[in-house]
Symmetry: C2
Subunit: 208 residues, 2 copies
Amino acid sequence: MQMESGRRSNRDRTEATRADLIRAARRLFTEKSYAETGTPEIVAAAGVTRGALYHHFADKQALFAAVVEQEAEIVAAQVDRASPSSLSARDALIAGSDAYLMAMGEAGRTRLLLLDGPAVLGRATMDEIDNRHGNRSLREGLVAAMRAQSMTRLPVDALTALLAAAFDRAALAIEAGASREDYRAVLIALMDGLSPAPPPSTRRAPSR
Amino acid sequence: MQMESGRRSNRDRTEATRADLIRAARRLFTEKSYAETGTPEIVAAAGVTRGALYHHFADKQALFAAVVEQEAEIVAAQVDRASPSSLSARDALIAGSDAYLMAMGEAGRTRLLLLDGPAVLGRATMDEIDNRHGNRSLREGLVAAMRAQSMTRLPVDALTALLAAAFDRAALAIEAGASREDYRAVLIALMDGLSPAPPPSTRRAPSR
DNA sequence: CGCATAACATACAGTTTGTATGTAAATGAG
DNA sequence: CTCATTTACATACAAACTGTATGTTATGCG
């Protein structure tokens, strides 16, 4: 039986401290904003000192990047889990869309990923993060749809980026109180519009 | 013949000072960023002191809002001028799109309006500004297209917001070095996809 | 066991922001 | 025209924050 906080390896200490810092920073960055959150407040919430922060991260921005990275991973995982390859291309895209909008409902997440992220880290860095996590499944879904259901041939990177931008804005609008159904309908219409063939049962059936 | 800088009315002084501050701030905010630009630097470039700044603006953020407002007006004016009502609904939308992408090519403008703007002022404020200037013509163009060419009936506000978001991301991508033609093609495809009827001469006509 | 290094904590210097206070110029009532 | 009031600034100040430099304690390892 060894003493509480007796002897920990350096790797464990580092991992724990980094996790504490990221957790505290995430909370504050989402509750307030990057600019309104000071490093003194973060380290107080994490139970360490600023020395620890600047030992593990180059600067405040690097800590923010770590938070954003982690958050993007979580969202991407939720989307992937919701759009299994067993679905048709179109159904997978729709399921993924719903999962994305749901995931972005988590409080403060839109500010983190869609407002502060691009402003603090720059669009280039955010694109890199998105392409590594989130956008991958969207892009694959679009490629699949193009092949399978003969979606109009279009530059895939541009299409992915623009649809992702639309999803992002939808998440923002919904959080701001707009109608989720309205935005969902438009998103689906935008995607269906790219298929030359009429989408299955988009015009609502006469019965009803 | 009266002395240079002899006697100026208060209204003139205010107007001139505000204009100087906004011009200097615009330059610095676009060359660097909101966060990296300090008020001492701004007032030095404007040739006044911080006292003048805080006399005319509540805080740094209010000055930034004035800059953003002015910039949004300029962009909206350029778009409106490029899409006269003499054009068909679809042609007007395309002309407006091109004008928007062109206008957003001005150095630093994307950072101002698309990155720092939303982060500093919040999406709600940016939406309000956009709806007052830029988005109005887009929205009207879409309504016209729905009526005239029978674009699919969709919630107009949501459609406007999502297409605007796509335009914004396109401007960002093009500035980052992506192919303008690729993004232009996808934007047009997205809009055309909303029309049940095949768009006029989308498959390029053999003649001409 | 003892030296090198990693993981912190503490102290410090430089900036920045917003405010409070002071001053000169313009405005307007009489 | 005069003078009191308000406006348009300039200057001084307090608080806060960021990054760095330096000091201390705990591991890693030969």
